[in-house]
Symmetry: C2
């Protein structure tokens, strides 16, 4: 399988950065854009990372997927809060073998795509990276990190290897995963407490969370809720993984989790994908997760969705 024509849906930091890397490596990349469209048409994309600087003066940017037409790979990097629009945006991009790669946060995005466009099309992907969009078309990838794509139902397939090669050829570090579900739950071990408490405690950062003895206890309590919810869903996460996730946060200093950046800027927060689905899947598996439930219900009222 080869991915000759590629569409990027979502021109935030993640979509624009990975799209830029793919285009720079010689791929035929088409960007669906909204607010950044005119700026990118005129000036292209610029990306700075610790390793390199990209200048892409010519970028194929569009206002609709009808203009793009069928592609081999759709990289989906819109917020999960906007998933409903995918029902209209995706169809013009599809041919029989089009692959949908979701780089979105949280749980339930693969299932949403599978329900509407067919399970066989969908590949999930976690992004362990730090990317920011400084202004329209100007990107910084301060921590390159890696991506972890995986099939919905398990083992590494030929097309997953091809997808990995595509990104590796574009200079992106790739770790193919055999257990996407486990990776998704493991990422929640950090995202649930730190993104959540940062909002619920008034829009604060990681340093401020960890400066509070009480909130640090709640970080651990929430991690244990996620651990129990994951276990009830067949994903075993060790205590050592929880402790490591806490430890690595101390050196981050006043780092603001992405959800609290959105919250403080009055933008929608992925409450359902991160907290809501974790609660629902835990309860559906018969596991009560009281701290996670309370946090979810507070966030639902506090944050835009």
């Amino acid at each position: 399988m080869s991915f000759k024509r590629i569409a990027i849906v979502g021109s935030g930091a993640i979509g624009s950065c990975y799209g830029a890397y793919l285009q720079d490596a010689g791929n035929d990349v088409h960007f669906l854009m909204r607010s950044d469209l005119e700026a990118v048409k005129q000036r292209g994309l610029r990306l700075k990372s610790p390793k390199r600087e990209l200048e892409l003066p010519e970028v194929q940017a569009y206002a609709s997927t009808e203009e793009i037409g069928p592609v081999d790979l759709v990289v989906i990097a819109i917020k999960a809060t906007a998933n409903e629009v995918l029902k209209d945006i995706i169809p013009p991009l599809l041919h029989d073998d089009t692959v949908l790669l979701t780089m979105q946060n949280g749980l339930g995005n693969e299932a949403f795509l599978a329900e509407h466009f067919g399970r066989e099309r969908v590949i999930g992907c976690l992004c362990f990276t730090c990317m920011n969009r400084i202004e329209p078309g100007v990107l910084v990838n301060s921590f390159p990190g890696y991506i972890a794509p995986g099939e919905m139902d398990g083992p590494v397939s030929e097309r997953l290897k091809a997808l990995g090669a595509l990104f590796e050829n574009a200079g992106v570090k790739v770790k193919l995963t055999e257990n996407l579900k486990e990776e998704r739950w493991k990422k929640l071990i950090w995202n649930v407490p730190f993104n959540g408490l940062a909002i619920a405690a008034g829009g604060i950062n990681c340093e401020q969370i960890l400066a509070s003895e009480g909130l640090t206890l709640e970080v651990m309590g929430l991690m244990k809720d996620v651990q129990r919810g994951a276990r009830a869903n067949g994903v075993d996460i060790e205590d050592a993984f929880l402790e490591k996730n806490l430890e690595v946060t101390y050196p981050m200093g006043p780092y603001e989790p992405s959800s609290v950046i959105d919250y403080n800027a009055d933008r929608p927060v992925e409450v359902e994908a991160i907290w809501g689905e974790a609660v629902r899947q835990s309860l559906a598996a018969g596991e009560s997760v009281p701290r996670l439930e309370l946090l979810y219900h507070l966030l639902k009222v506090l944050a835009k969705s």
Copy 2:
């Protein structure tokens, strides 16, 4: 036992209203005041309730307890957040038999007074009423309700009866309680969820809490945490009491719990007396109360104390 000289410590709504009732009934009442001192010295106290209107042009108001001197009864109605100042304020009011009556919210206030001034002096008192201080010296008691005083260690004593008679003679409805601890925990069944969620969900009112299906679930979840914490401390509260506490809140409409009024006005909130002590006493009795713990730790960061 008779209470001839009475001091009121704390000139917020509760202290000023009950002090005014007691003075109007002919008692010798001395008010310790701070911000309202000059206004009350000049214009006295005015109080409006559904049943009557009081005009007390002459009020004995003071800036220090040294000026008041020893009394038979001290009515303590400052915020629990300011308890530390009592260590200096109370001693000048004491003779050998002075009774300390705390009308403060939450758990731990009787214990604080007992520790510093002797257990034998202390009587606790719950106030089921709605009182507001409109401006210095001007009070509204929109819902008269009743008070429930009780000895720290159980049965109704002679002095408790005398205290009850004192307030009844002043037109205040009194229900003497044989189980102060039970009354304190029962009041938390409402105060913990509604005061707490109103703050943690962004400074909202009861109607807004109950408009959210998720927060309504959390109200019940928090009530059950308090119920379990109470049970571990020897206080049995029936499920029907929880349900009744939820039901009576619907007709309250957009009622703002007192803590959220303080929170929205950037004043200190009794976080330790209401949530902190409930958590500590539950954990000390071996009962985990995860929702209550998370709420407490959030409030500790969100609210001034």
